[in-house]
Symmetry: C2
Subunit: 298 residues, 2 copies
Amino acid sequence: MVKGFQFDTYMAEKATLVNNALEEAVPLQEPLKIHEAMRYSLLAGGKRVRPILCLASCELVGGAESRAMAMALAVEMVHTMSLIHDDLPCMDNDDLRRGKPTNHKVYGDDTAVLAGDALLSLAFEHLATRTIGVGPDRVVQAISELASAVGSLGLVAGQIVDISSEGKQDVDLNKLEYIHVHKTAKLLEAAVVGGAVLGGGNSDEVERVRKYARSIGLLFQVVDDILDVTKSSEELGKTAGKDLLSDKATYPKLMGLDGAKKFAGELLATAVEELGFFDAGRAAPLHHLAHYIAYRQN
Amino acid sequence: MVKGFQFDTYMAEKATLVNNALEEAVPLQEPLKIHEAMRYSLLAGGKRVRPILCLASCELVGGAESRAMAMALAVEMVHTMSLIHDDLPCMDNDDLRRGKPTNHKVYGDDTAVLAGDALLSLAFEHLATRTIGVGPDRVVQAISELASAVGSLGLVAGQIVDISSEGKQDVDLNKLEYIHVHKTAKLLEAAVVGGAVLGGGNSDEVERVRKYARSIGLLFQVVDDILDVTKSSEELGKTAGKDLLSDKATYPKLMGLDGAKKFAGELLATAVEELGFFDAGRAAPLHHLAHYIAYRQN
Protein backbone atom coordinates (compact mmCIF):
# COMPACT_ATOMS: atom_id res chain seq x y z
CA MET A 1 0.00 0.00 0.00
CA VAL A 2 1.22 3.48 -0.84
CA LYS A 3 1.69 5.70 2.21
CA GLY A 4 -0.03 9.05 2.33
CA PHE A 5 -2.67 8.02 -0.22
CA GLN A 6 -6.13 8.89 1.12
CA PHE A 7 -8.15 6.02 -0.37
CA ASP A 8 -11.51 6.85 1.22
CA THR A 9 -11.28 10.46 0.06
CA TYR A 10 -10.21 9.32 -3.42
CA MET A 11 -13.14 6.91 -3.73
CA ALA A 12 -15.66 9.45 -2.43
CA GLU A 13 -14.44 12.14 -4.82
CA LYS A 14 -14.42 9.84 -7.83
CA ALA A 15 -17.83 8.40 -6.98
CA THR A 16 -19.27 11.91 -6.78
CA LEU A 17 -17.69 12.79 -10.12
CA VAL A 18 -19.13 9.64 -11.70
CA ASN A 19 -22.57 10.12 -10.14
CA ASN A 20 -22.79 13.71 -11.37
CA ALA A 21 -21.73 12.68 -14.86
CA LEU A 22 -24.25 9.79 -14.91
CA GLU A 23 -26.99 12.17 -13.81
CA GLU A 24 -26.14 14.44 -16.76
CA ALA A 25 -25.76 11.55 -19.21
CA VAL A 26 -29.36 10.37 -18.71
CA PRO A 27 -31.51 13.49 -18.24
CA LEU A 28 -35.17 13.06 -17.39
CA GLN A 29 -36.92 13.65 -20.71
CA GLU A 30 -39.73 12.27 -22.87
CA PRO A 31 -40.70 9.46 -22.95
CA LEU A 32 -40.65 9.94 -19.17
CA LYS A 33 -41.29 6.35 -18.13
CA ILE A 34 -38.26 4.84 -19.86
CA HIS A 35 -35.93 7.57 -18.64
CA GLU A 36 -37.29 7.26 -15.10
CA ALA A 37 -36.67 3.50 -15.22
CA MET A 38 -33.13 3.94 -16.60
CA ARG A 39 -32.31 6.57 -13.97
CA TYR A 40 -33.87 4.55 -11.15
CA SER A 41 -31.32 1.77 -11.52
CA LEU A 42 -28.39 3.77 -12.91
CA LEU A 43 -28.51 6.39 -10.14
CA ALA A 44 -29.31 3.93 -7.33
CA GLY A 45 -25.87 4.37 -5.82
CA GLY A 46 -23.52 1.46 -5.77
CA LYS A 47 -19.83 1.85 -5.17
CA ARG A 48 -18.97 2.76 -8.77
CA VAL A 49 -15.97 0.45 -8.61
CA ARG A 50 -16.01 -0.21 -12.36
CA PRO A 51 -16.00 3.43 -13.54
CA ILE A 52 -13.41 4.34 -10.90
CA LEU A 53 -11.18 1.49 -12.11
CA CYS A 54 -11.53 2.88 -15.64
CA LEU A 55 -10.55 6.41 -14.61
CA ALA A 56 -7.67 5.15 -12.46
CA SER A 57 -6.34 3.04 -15.32
CA CYS A 58 -6.41 6.04 -17.65
CA GLU A 59 -4.38 8.05 -15.12
CA LEU A 60 -2.03 5.12 -14.54
CA VAL A 61 -0.74 5.44 -18.11
CA GLY A 62 -0.56 9.23 -17.85
CA GLY A 63 -3.87 10.17 -19.48
CA ALA A 64 -6.10 12.98 -18.23
CA GLU A 65 -9.10 11.51 -16.43
CA SER A 66 -11.53 13.29 -18.77
CA ARG A 67 -10.38 11.12 -21.65
CA ALA A 68 -11.86 8.02 -20.02
CA MET A 69 -14.97 9.55 -18.45
CA ALA A 70 -17.33 8.50 -21.27
CA MET A 71 -15.93 4.95 -21.09
CA ALA A 72 -16.32 4.92 -17.30
CA LEU A 73 -19.99 5.84 -17.61
CA ALA A 74 -20.51 3.37 -20.46
CA VAL A 75 -19.18 0.53 -18.29
CA GLU A 76 -21.57 1.49 -15.49
CA MET A 77 -24.48 1.63 -17.96
CA VAL A 78 -23.64 -1.89 -19.17
CA HIS A 79 -23.30 -3.12 -15.60
CA THR A 80 -26.69 -1.63 -14.70
CA MET A 81 -28.28 -3.20 -17.80
CA SER A 82 -26.99 -6.61 -16.75
CA LEU A 83 -28.40 -6.16 -13.23
CA ILE A 84 -31.83 -5.11 -14.53
CA HIS A 85 -32.07 -8.04 -16.95
CA ASP A 86 -30.60 -10.56 -14.47
CA ASP A 87 -33.19 -9.58 -11.86
CA LEU A 88 -36.16 -10.24 -14.21
CA PRO A 89 -38.69 -12.92 -13.17
CA CYS A 90 -37.65 -15.07 -16.14
CA MET A 91 -34.00 -14.87 -15.01
CA ASP A 92 -32.91 -14.74 -11.32
CA ASN A 93 -36.27 -13.32 -10.17
CA ASP A 94 -34.83 -10.92 -7.58
CA ASP A 95 -37.01 -8.45 -5.68
CA LEU A 96 -34.25 -6.49 -3.98
CA ARG A 97 -31.15 -4.78 -5.39
CA ARG A 98 -28.90 -2.29 -3.61
CA GLY A 99 -31.51 -2.23 -0.83
CA LYS A 100 -34.32 -1.11 -3.17
CA PRO A 101 -37.05 -2.94 -5.11
CA THR A 102 -35.68 -4.16 -8.45
CA ASN A 103 -36.46 -2.29 -11.66
CA HIS A 104 -39.24 -4.59 -12.89
CA LYS A 105 -40.92 -4.49 -9.45
CA VAL A 106 -41.30 -0.73 -9.84
CA TYR A 107 -41.80 -0.28 -13.61
CA GLY A 108 -43.02 -3.67 -14.84
CA ASP A 109 -41.22 -6.41 -16.74
CA ASP A 110 -41.72 -4.82 -20.16
CA THR A 111 -40.20 -1.49 -19.18
CA ALA A 112 -37.33 -3.26 -17.38
CA VAL A 113 -36.41 -5.18 -20.55
CA LEU A 114 -36.50 -1.93 -22.54
CA ALA A 115 -34.59 0.07 -19.91
CA GLY A 116 -31.79 -2.49 -20.14
CA ASP A 117 -31.78 -2.35 -23.94
CA ALA A 118 -31.68 1.45 -23.84
CA LEU A 119 -28.81 1.52 -21.33
CA LEU A 120 -26.82 -0.94 -23.43
CA SER A 121 -27.16 1.13 -26.58
CA LEU A 122 -26.59 4.37 -24.68
CA ALA A 123 -23.29 2.97 -23.43
CA PHE A 124 -22.00 2.71 -27.01
CA GLU A 125 -23.57 5.99 -28.06
CA HIS A 126 -21.99 7.79 -25.12
CA LEU A 127 -18.59 6.27 -25.78
CA ALA A 128 -18.80 7.15 -29.48
CA THR A 129 -20.04 10.72 -29.08
CA ARG A 130 -18.75 11.92 -25.71
CA THR A 131 -15.17 10.73 -25.63
CA ILE A 132 -13.02 13.85 -25.83
CA GLY A 133 -9.37 14.43 -26.58
CA VAL A 134 -8.77 10.92 -27.95
CA GLY A 135 -8.13 9.79 -31.53
CA PRO A 136 -11.00 7.85 -33.14
CA ASP A 137 -8.83 4.72 -33.55
CA ARG A 138 -8.62 4.42 -29.77
CA VAL A 139 -12.34 5.10 -29.40
CA VAL A 140 -13.09 2.23 -31.79
CA GLN A 141 -10.74 -0.01 -29.78
CA ALA A 142 -12.51 0.89 -26.53
CA ILE A 143 -15.92 0.22 -28.11
CA SER A 144 -14.67 -3.16 -29.26
CA GLU A 145 -13.41 -4.03 -25.74
CA LEU A 146 -16.73 -3.07 -24.18
CA ALA A 147 -18.87 -4.87 -26.74
CA SER A 148 -16.95 -8.12 -26.49
CA ALA A 149 -17.25 -7.97 -22.69
CA VAL A 150 -21.06 -7.95 -22.97
CA GLY A 151 -21.77 -10.38 -25.77
CA SER A 152 -22.21 -14.10 -26.23
CA LEU A 153 -18.55 -14.68 -25.29
CA GLY A 154 -18.77 -12.24 -22.35
CA LEU A 155 -21.44 -11.33 -19.78
CA VAL A 156 -24.15 -13.18 -21.68
CA ALA A 157 -22.03 -16.36 -21.89
CA GLY A 158 -21.51 -16.27 -18.13
CA GLN A 159 -25.18 -15.76 -17.45
CA ILE A 160 -26.39 -18.52 -19.78
CA VAL A 161 -23.96 -21.07 -18.33
CA ASP A 162 -24.88 -19.90 -14.83
CA ILE A 163 -28.61 -20.34 -15.48
CA SER A 164 -28.18 -23.77 -17.02
CA SER A 165 -26.00 -24.85 -14.07
CA GLU A 166 -28.48 -23.94 -11.34
CA GLY A 167 -29.52 -26.84 -9.16
CA LYS A 168 -27.06 -29.14 -10.94
CA GLN A 169 -24.35 -31.01 -9.05
CA ASP A 170 -21.81 -31.08 -11.89
CA VAL A 171 -20.43 -27.56 -11.46
CA ASP A 172 -16.71 -27.96 -10.80
CA LEU A 173 -14.10 -25.25 -10.29
CA ASN A 174 -13.44 -24.94 -14.02
CA LYS A 175 -17.07 -24.22 -14.78
CA LEU A 176 -17.39 -21.91 -11.79
CA GLU A 177 -14.38 -19.94 -13.00
CA TYR A 178 -15.86 -19.82 -16.53
CA ILE A 179 -19.07 -18.34 -15.13
CA HIS A 180 -17.31 -15.70 -13.05
CA VAL A 181 -14.72 -14.75 -15.62
CA HIS A 182 -17.57 -14.07 -18.02
CA LYS A 183 -20.21 -12.65 -15.69
CA THR A 184 -17.90 -10.37 -13.75
CA ALA A 185 -14.26 -10.26 -14.81
CA LYS A 186 -14.75 -9.42 -18.49
CA LEU A 187 -16.55 -6.16 -17.77
CA LEU A 188 -13.93 -5.14 -15.19
CA GLU A 189 -11.33 -5.97 -17.81
CA ALA A 190 -13.07 -3.78 -20.38
CA ALA A 191 -13.19 -0.95 -17.83
CA VAL A 192 -9.49 -1.16 -17.02
CA VAL A 193 -8.26 -1.88 -20.54
CA GLY A 194 -10.56 0.75 -22.03
CA GLY A 195 -9.23 3.30 -19.55
CA ALA A 196 -5.63 2.50 -20.50
CA VAL A 197 -6.38 2.57 -24.23
CA LEU A 198 -8.14 5.93 -24.02
CA GLY A 199 -5.45 7.26 -21.69
CA GLY A 200 -2.87 6.69 -24.42
CA GLY A 201 -1.20 3.56 -23.02
CA ASN A 202 1.13 1.57 -25.26
CA SER A 203 0.47 -2.09 -26.00
CA ASP A 204 2.76 -3.34 -23.21
CA GLU A 205 0.98 -1.15 -20.67
CA VAL A 206 -2.42 -2.25 -21.96
CA GLU A 207 -1.51 -5.94 -21.60
CA ARG A 208 -0.22 -5.39 -18.05
CA VAL A 209 -3.44 -3.71 -16.93
CA ARG A 210 -5.36 -6.50 -18.65
CA LYS A 211 -3.64 -9.05 -16.40
CA TYR A 212 -4.32 -6.85 -13.37
CA ALA A 213 -7.97 -6.64 -14.40
CA ARG A 214 -8.36 -10.38 -14.90
CA SER A 215 -7.09 -11.07 -11.40
CA ILE A 216 -9.23 -8.51 -9.64
CA GLY A 217 -12.23 -9.50 -11.76
CA LEU A 218 -12.09 -13.01 -10.40
CA LEU A 219 -11.17 -11.69 -6.96
CA PHE A 220 -14.32 -9.58 -7.04
CA GLN A 221 -16.50 -12.63 -7.49
CA VAL A 222 -14.67 -14.83 -4.98
CA VAL A 223 -15.20 -12.10 -2.38
CA ASP A 224 -18.85 -11.79 -3.43
CA ASP A 225 -19.33 -15.51 -2.81
CA ILE A 226 -17.63 -15.24 0.58
CA LEU A 227 -19.79 -12.28 1.59
CA ASP A 228 -22.96 -14.11 0.54
CA VAL A 229 -22.33 -16.78 3.19
CA THR A 230 -20.85 -14.54 5.90
CA LYS A 231 -23.07 -11.43 5.85
CA SER A 232 -26.76 -10.57 6.37
CA SER A 233 -29.11 -9.13 3.74
CA GLU A 234 -29.10 -5.84 5.66
CA GLU A 235 -25.32 -5.62 5.61
CA LEU A 236 -25.19 -6.45 1.87
CA GLY A 237 -28.15 -4.38 0.70
CA LYS A 238 -29.34 -7.43 -1.25
CA THR A 239 -30.69 -10.88 -0.44
CA ALA A 240 -27.98 -12.83 1.43
CA GLY A 241 -27.63 -16.60 1.56
CA LYS A 242 -29.38 -16.84 -1.80
CA ASP A 243 -26.59 -18.95 -3.31
CA LEU A 244 -26.91 -21.55 -0.56
CA LEU A 245 -30.70 -21.64 -0.82
CA SER A 246 -30.59 -22.15 -4.60
CA ASP A 247 -27.84 -24.75 -4.15
CA LYS A 248 -25.63 -22.71 -6.45
CA ALA A 249 -21.96 -23.57 -6.86
CA THR A 250 -19.73 -21.00 -5.13
CA TYR A 251 -16.05 -20.82 -4.18
CA PRO A 252 -16.76 -21.41 -0.47
CA LYS A 253 -18.88 -24.43 -1.40
CA LEU A 254 -16.22 -25.94 -3.70
CA MET A 255 -13.07 -24.89 -1.78
CA GLY A 256 -14.35 -24.34 1.75
CA LEU A 257 -14.47 -20.86 3.26
CA ASP A 258 -10.77 -20.89 4.19
CA GLY A 259 -9.78 -22.19 0.75
CA ALA A 260 -11.77 -19.40 -0.90
CA LYS A 261 -10.09 -16.81 1.31
CA LYS A 262 -6.65 -18.20 0.44
CA PHE A 263 -7.51 -18.08 -3.29
CA ALA A 264 -8.59 -14.45 -2.88
CA GLY A 265 -5.18 -13.68 -1.37
CA GLU A 266 -3.37 -15.23 -4.34
CA LEU A 267 -5.44 -13.27 -6.84
CA LEU A 268 -4.68 -10.06 -4.98
CA ALA A 269 -0.95 -10.81 -5.07
CA THR A 270 -1.04 -11.39 -8.84
CA ALA A 271 -2.87 -8.13 -9.42
CA VAL A 272 -0.46 -6.13 -7.29
CA GLU A 273 2.54 -7.65 -9.06
CA GLU A 274 1.48 -6.20 -12.44
CA LEU A 275 1.25 -2.72 -10.92
CA GLY A 276 4.92 -2.97 -9.94
CA PHE A 277 5.88 -2.09 -13.51
CA PHE A 278 4.28 1.34 -13.26
CA ASP A 279 5.17 4.50 -11.34
CA ALA A 280 4.16 3.84 -7.72
CA GLY A 281 2.39 7.16 -7.26
CA ARG A 282 0.28 6.74 -10.39
CA ALA A 283 -0.43 3.12 -9.47
CA ALA A 284 -1.59 3.96 -5.95
CA PRO A 285 -5.35 4.12 -6.76
CA LEU A 286 -5.36 0.74 -8.56
CA HIS A 287 -3.19 -0.70 -5.80
CA HIS A 288 -5.65 0.40 -3.14
CA LEU A 289 -8.63 -0.60 -5.29
CA ALA A 290 -7.34 -4.17 -5.46
CA HIS A 291 -7.06 -4.25 -1.66
CA TYR A 292 -10.48 -2.66 -1.37
CA ILE A 293 -12.04 -5.35 -3.56
CA ALA A 294 -10.30 -8.03 -1.51
CA TYR A 295 -11.32 -6.68 1.88
CA ARG A 296 -14.70 -5.04 1.22
CA GLN A 297 -17.52 -5.86 3.62
CA ASN A 298 -20.49 -5.51 1.25
CA MET B 1 -37.93 3.41 -62.24
CA VAL B 2 -34.63 2.85 -63.98
CA LYS B 3 -34.93 0.78 -67.14
CA GLY B 4 -32.82 -2.33 -67.47
CA PHE B 5 -32.28 -2.65 -63.73
CA GLN B 6 -33.06 -6.23 -62.67
CA PHE B 7 -34.49 -5.57 -59.21
CA ASP B 8 -35.44 -9.15 -58.32
CA THR B 9 -31.98 -10.39 -59.28
CA TYR B 10 -30.37 -7.53 -57.33
CA MET B 11 -32.37 -8.30 -54.19
CA ALA B 12 -31.73 -12.04 -54.41
CA GLU B 13 -27.98 -11.55 -54.87
CA LYS B 14 -27.69 -9.05 -52.04
CA ALA B 15 -29.83 -11.15 -49.70
CA THR B 16 -27.58 -14.17 -50.36
CA LEU B 17 -24.51 -12.04 -49.71
CA VAL B 18 -26.00 -10.78 -46.44
CA ASN B 19 -27.19 -14.22 -45.35
CA ASN B 20 -23.77 -15.76 -45.94
CA ALA B 21 -22.06 -12.96 -44.04
CA LEU B 22 -24.54 -13.28 -41.14
CA GLU B 23 -23.92 -17.01 -41.02
CA GLU B 24 -20.17 -16.34 -40.70
CA ALA B 25 -20.62 -13.50 -38.21
CA VAL B 26 -22.37 -15.73 -35.64
CA PRO B 27 -20.72 -19.16 -35.83
CA LEU B 28 -22.13 -21.99 -33.78
CA GLN B 29 -19.78 -22.19 -30.80
CA GLU B 30 -19.80 -22.60 -27.02
CA PRO B 31 -21.95 -21.83 -25.15
CA LEU B 32 -24.10 -23.62 -27.73
CA LYS B 33 -27.51 -22.63 -26.43
CA ILE B 34 -27.02 -18.88 -26.72
CA HIS B 35 -25.48 -19.12 -30.18
CA GLU B 36 -28.25 -21.44 -31.34
CA ALA B 37 -30.82 -18.95 -30.09
CA MET B 38 -29.07 -16.00 -31.74
CA ARG B 39 -28.74 -17.89 -35.03
CA TYR B 40 -32.33 -19.16 -34.91
CA SER B 41 -33.74 -15.66 -35.19
CA LEU B 42 -30.92 -13.98 -37.11
CA LEU B 43 -30.83 -16.61 -39.85
CA ALA B 44 -34.61 -17.08 -40.05
CA GLY B 45 -34.78 -15.45 -43.42
CA GLY B 46 -36.60 -12.20 -43.77
CA LYS B 47 -36.17 -9.93 -46.74
CA ARG B 48 -32.97 -8.26 -45.47
CA VAL B 49 -34.33 -4.91 -46.57
CA ARG B 50 -32.35 -3.00 -43.92
CA PRO B 51 -28.90 -4.41 -44.74
CA ILE B 52 -29.56 -4.11 -48.47
CA LEU B 53 -30.53 -0.45 -47.99
CA CYS B 54 -27.25 0.05 -46.15
CA LEU B 55 -25.17 -1.53 -48.93
CA ALA B 56 -27.09 0.35 -51.62
CA SER B 57 -26.55 3.66 -49.85
CA CYS B 58 -22.81 3.00 -49.62
CA GLU B 59 -22.70 2.37 -53.37
CA LEU B 60 -24.90 5.40 -54.05
CA VAL B 61 -22.13 7.69 -52.81
CA GLY B 62 -19.47 5.71 -54.69
CA GLY B 63 -18.17 3.48 -51.91
CA ALA B 64 -17.28 -0.20 -52.39
CA GLU B 65 -20.00 -2.37 -50.90
CA SER B 66 -17.51 -4.13 -48.60
CA ARG B 67 -17.03 -0.89 -46.64
CA ALA B 68 -20.61 -1.03 -45.38
CA MET B 69 -20.98 -4.81 -44.96
CA ALA B 70 -20.26 -4.79 -41.20
CA MET B 71 -22.78 -1.98 -40.74
CA ALA B 72 -25.36 -3.84 -42.83
CA LEU B 73 -25.03 -6.90 -40.59
CA ALA B 74 -25.05 -4.76 -37.44
CA VAL B 75 -28.36 -3.22 -38.47
CA GLU B 76 -29.87 -6.66 -39.04
CA MET B 77 -28.58 -7.83 -35.64
CA VAL B 78 -30.23 -4.84 -33.96
CA HIS B 79 -33.45 -5.44 -35.89
CA THR B 80 -33.46 -9.11 -34.84
CA MET B 81 -32.81 -8.14 -31.20
CA SER B 82 -35.80 -5.83 -31.27
CA LEU B 83 -38.02 -8.58 -32.71
CA ILE B 84 -36.90 -11.12 -30.08
CA HIS B 85 -37.51 -8.73 -27.19
CA ASP B 86 -40.77 -7.35 -28.63
CA ASP B 87 -42.15 -10.89 -28.96
CA LEU B 88 -41.55 -11.74 -25.26
CA PRO B 89 -44.58 -12.61 -23.12
CA CYS B 90 -44.05 -9.45 -21.04
CA MET B 91 -44.10 -7.36 -24.24
CA ASP B 92 -46.27 -8.17 -27.30
CA ASN B 93 -46.50 -11.88 -26.41
CA ASP B 94 -46.23 -13.18 -29.96
CA ASP B 95 -45.98 -16.89 -30.75
CA LEU B 96 -45.25 -16.61 -34.46
CA ARG B 97 -42.60 -14.65 -36.36
CA ARG B 98 -41.58 -15.06 -40.00
CA GLY B 99 -43.77 -18.19 -40.03
CA LYS B 100 -41.83 -19.86 -37.19
CA PRO B 101 -42.30 -20.10 -33.42
CA THR B 102 -40.80 -17.04 -31.73
CA ASN B 103 -37.43 -17.25 -30.00
CA HIS B 104 -38.73 -17.54 -26.44
CA LYS B 105 -41.17 -20.27 -27.51
CA VAL B 106 -38.21 -22.38 -28.59
CA TYR B 107 -35.46 -21.40 -26.11
CA GLY B 108 -37.33 -19.99 -23.12
CA ASP B 109 -37.82 -16.40 -21.96
CA ASP B 110 -34.46 -16.19 -20.17
CA THR B 111 -32.44 -17.24 -23.20
CA ALA B 112 -34.49 -14.96 -25.46
CA VAL B 113 -33.67 -11.93 -23.30
CA LEU B 114 -29.98 -12.86 -23.37
CA ALA B 115 -29.96 -13.63 -27.10
CA GLY B 116 -31.28 -10.11 -27.72
CA ASP B 117 -28.65 -8.58 -25.44
CA ALA B 118 -25.91 -10.55 -27.16
CA LEU B 119 -27.07 -9.55 -30.65
CA LEU B 120 -27.21 -5.90 -29.61
CA SER B 121 -23.66 -5.89 -28.30
CA LEU B 122 -22.44 -8.00 -31.23
CA ALA B 123 -23.79 -5.34 -33.58
CA PHE B 124 -21.44 -2.76 -32.11
CA GLU B 125 -18.55 -5.20 -31.81
CA HIS B 126 -18.94 -6.23 -35.43
CA LEU B 127 -19.12 -2.64 -36.63
CA ALA B 128 -16.06 -1.69 -34.56
CA THR B 129 -13.87 -4.67 -35.50
CA ARG B 130 -15.03 -5.77 -38.94
CA THR B 131 -15.41 -2.55 -40.86
CA ILE B 132 -12.65 -2.53 -43.46
CA GLY B 133 -11.18 0.18 -45.64
CA VAL B 134 -12.77 3.06 -43.72
CA GLY B 135 -11.16 5.65 -41.44
CA PRO B 136 -11.96 5.23 -37.73
CA ASP B 137 -13.66 8.64 -37.57
CA ARG B 138 -16.34 7.37 -39.94
CA VAL B 139 -16.65 4.11 -38.01
CA VAL B 140 -17.29 6.09 -34.81
CA GLN B 141 -19.91 8.15 -36.66
CA ALA B 142 -21.66 4.99 -37.89
CA ILE B 143 -21.64 3.51 -34.38
CA SER B 144 -23.17 6.70 -33.07
CA GLU B 145 -25.93 6.59 -35.72
CA LEU B 146 -26.76 2.99 -34.91
CA ALA B 147 -26.71 3.45 -31.13
CA SER B 148 -28.98 6.48 -31.21
CA ALA B 149 -31.42 4.56 -33.42
CA VAL B 150 -31.82 1.88 -30.74
CA GLY B 151 -31.84 3.81 -27.50
CA SER B 152 -34.36 5.67 -25.36
CA LEU B 153 -34.85 8.26 -28.12
CA GLY B 154 -35.02 5.56 -30.82
CA LEU B 155 -36.46 2.05 -31.04
CA VAL B 156 -36.98 1.82 -27.30
CA ALA B 157 -38.85 5.14 -27.22
CA GLY B 158 -41.19 3.90 -29.94
CA GLN B 159 -41.81 0.64 -28.15
CA ILE B 160 -42.49 2.20 -24.74
CA VAL B 161 -44.97 4.71 -26.17
CA ASP B 162 -46.55 1.94 -28.24
CA ILE B 163 -47.01 -0.30 -25.18
CA SER B 164 -48.45 2.50 -23.07
CA SER B 165 -50.87 3.43 -25.89
CA GLU B 166 -52.37 -0.05 -26.34
CA GLY B 167 -56.10 -0.18 -25.79
CA LYS B 168 -56.26 3.60 -25.35
CA GLN B 169 -58.48 5.77 -27.52
CA ASP B 170 -56.30 8.89 -27.41
CA VAL B 171 -53.77 7.84 -30.06
CA ASP B 172 -53.94 10.52 -32.76
CA LEU B 173 -51.88 10.78 -35.95
CA ASN B 174 -49.10 12.67 -34.17
CA LYS B 175 -48.61 9.95 -31.60
CA LEU B 176 -48.92 7.22 -34.23
CA GLU B 177 -46.21 8.91 -36.29
CA TYR B 178 -44.04 9.26 -33.17
CA ILE B 179 -44.33 5.51 -32.56
CA HIS B 180 -43.50 4.53 -36.11
CA VAL B 181 -40.72 7.04 -36.63
CA HIS B 182 -39.05 5.59 -33.54
CA LYS B 183 -39.95 1.91 -33.85
CA THR B 184 -39.19 1.59 -37.55
CA ALA B 185 -37.87 4.64 -39.33
CA LYS B 186 -34.89 5.40 -37.07
CA LEU B 187 -33.23 2.05 -37.70
CA LEU B 188 -33.79 2.34 -41.45
CA GLU B 189 -32.30 5.82 -41.21
CA ALA B 190 -29.25 4.44 -39.39
CA ALA B 191 -28.86 1.78 -42.08
CA VAL B 192 -29.00 4.28 -44.94
CA VAL B 193 -27.02 7.06 -43.26
CA GLY B 194 -24.44 4.61 -41.93
CA GLY B 195 -24.00 3.19 -45.41
CA ALA B 196 -23.42 6.65 -46.87
CA VAL B 197 -21.02 7.65 -44.08
CA LEU B 198 -18.95 4.48 -44.46
CA GLY B 199 -19.10 4.78 -48.25
CA GLY B 200 -17.33 8.13 -48.01
CA GLY B 201 -20.31 10.40 -48.65
CA ASN B 202 -19.96 14.13 -47.96
CA SER B 203 -22.27 15.91 -45.52
CA ASP B 204 -24.68 17.06 -48.24
CA GLU B 205 -25.02 13.52 -49.57
CA VAL B 206 -25.49 12.15 -46.06
CA GLU B 207 -28.30 14.61 -45.34
CA ARG B 208 -30.06 13.77 -48.62
CA VAL B 209 -30.03 10.05 -47.91
CA ARG B 210 -31.24 10.83 -44.38
CA LYS B 211 -34.34 12.49 -45.85
CA TYR B 212 -34.84 9.56 -48.22
CA ALA B 213 -34.55 7.17 -45.25
CA ARG B 214 -37.04 9.07 -43.10
CA SER B 215 -39.65 8.90 -45.85
CA ILE B 216 -39.25 5.24 -46.61
CA GLY B 217 -39.05 4.45 -42.88
CA LEU B 218 -42.50 5.83 -42.33
CA LEU B 219 -43.66 4.35 -45.63
CA PHE B 220 -42.52 0.94 -44.40
CA GLN B 221 -44.81 1.14 -41.39
CA VAL B 222 -47.80 2.59 -43.24
CA VAL B 223 -47.58 -0.35 -45.66
CA ASP B 224 -47.21 -2.77 -42.73
CA ASP B 225 -50.43 -1.40 -41.23
CA ILE B 226 -52.21 -1.73 -44.58
CA LEU B 227 -51.01 -5.31 -45.03
CA ASP B 228 -52.16 -6.24 -41.51
CA VAL B 229 -55.77 -5.48 -42.45
CA THR B 230 -55.70 -6.71 -46.06
CA LYS B 231 -53.71 -9.98 -45.88
CA SER B 232 -53.97 -13.36 -44.15
CA SER B 233 -51.51 -14.76 -41.56
CA GLU B 234 -50.37 -17.28 -44.14
CA GLU B 235 -49.60 -14.60 -46.70
CA LEU B 236 -47.72 -12.48 -44.12
CA GLY B 237 -45.87 -15.26 -42.30
CA LYS B 238 -47.01 -13.69 -39.02
CA THR B 239 -50.30 -13.21 -37.17
CA ALA B 240 -52.54 -10.98 -39.30
CA GLY B 241 -55.37 -8.80 -38.04
CA LYS B 242 -53.62 -8.51 -34.68
CA ASP B 243 -53.75 -4.72 -34.70
CA LEU B 244 -57.52 -4.73 -35.11
CA LEU B 245 -57.99 -7.36 -32.40
CA SER B 246 -55.86 -5.42 -29.91
CA ASP B 247 -57.65 -2.21 -30.90
CA LYS B 248 -54.29 -0.69 -31.79
CA ALA B 249 -54.09 2.64 -33.59
CA THR B 250 -53.02 2.19 -37.21
CA TYR B 251 -52.94 4.39 -40.30
CA PRO B 252 -55.94 2.62 -41.88
CA LYS B 253 -57.87 3.05 -38.63
CA LEU B 254 -57.06 6.77 -38.33
CA MET B 255 -57.10 7.70 -42.06
CA GLY B 256 -59.21 4.98 -43.62
CA LEU B 257 -57.66 2.43 -45.96
CA ASP B 258 -57.73 4.79 -48.96
CA GLY B 259 -56.27 7.64 -46.93
CA ALA B 260 -53.43 5.41 -45.76
CA LYS B 261 -52.73 4.34 -49.34
CA LYS B 262 -52.65 7.98 -50.48
CA PHE B 263 -50.25 8.86 -47.65
CA ALA B 264 -48.01 5.97 -48.71
CA GLY B 265 -47.90 7.43 -52.23
CA GLU B 266 -46.83 10.85 -50.91
CA LEU B 267 -44.03 9.34 -48.82
CA LEU B 268 -42.79 7.42 -51.84
CA ALA B 269 -42.71 10.61 -53.94
CA THR B 270 -40.68 12.44 -51.28
CA ALA B 271 -38.16 9.60 -51.08
CA VAL B 272 -37.73 9.43 -54.84
CA GLU B 273 -37.25 13.20 -55.06
CA GLU B 274 -34.10 13.08 -52.89
CA LEU B 275 -32.58 10.44 -55.14
CA GLY B 276 -32.85 12.83 -58.08
CA PHE B 277 -29.71 14.60 -56.88
CA PHE B 278 -27.57 11.49 -57.41
CA ASP B 279 -26.39 9.66 -60.52
CA ALA B 280 -29.40 7.74 -61.85
CA GLY B 281 -27.52 4.48 -62.33
CA ARG B 282 -26.10 4.48 -58.81
CA ALA B 283 -29.46 5.51 -57.40
CA ALA B 284 -31.33 2.69 -59.18
CA PRO B 285 -31.26 0.20 -56.27
CA LEU B 286 -32.56 2.73 -53.72
CA HIS B 287 -35.11 3.94 -56.26
CA HIS B 288 -36.43 0.41 -56.74
CA LEU B 289 -36.21 -0.35 -53.03
CA ALA B 290 -38.52 2.56 -52.28
CA HIS B 291 -41.05 1.19 -54.77
CA TYR B 292 -40.58 -2.28 -53.38
CA ILE B 293 -41.37 -1.07 -49.85
CA ALA B 294 -44.43 0.75 -51.13
CA TYR B 295 -45.82 -2.13 -53.14
CA ARG B 296 -44.68 -5.22 -51.22
CA GLN B 297 -47.31 -7.88 -50.50
CA ASN B 298 -45.91 -9.26 -47.22
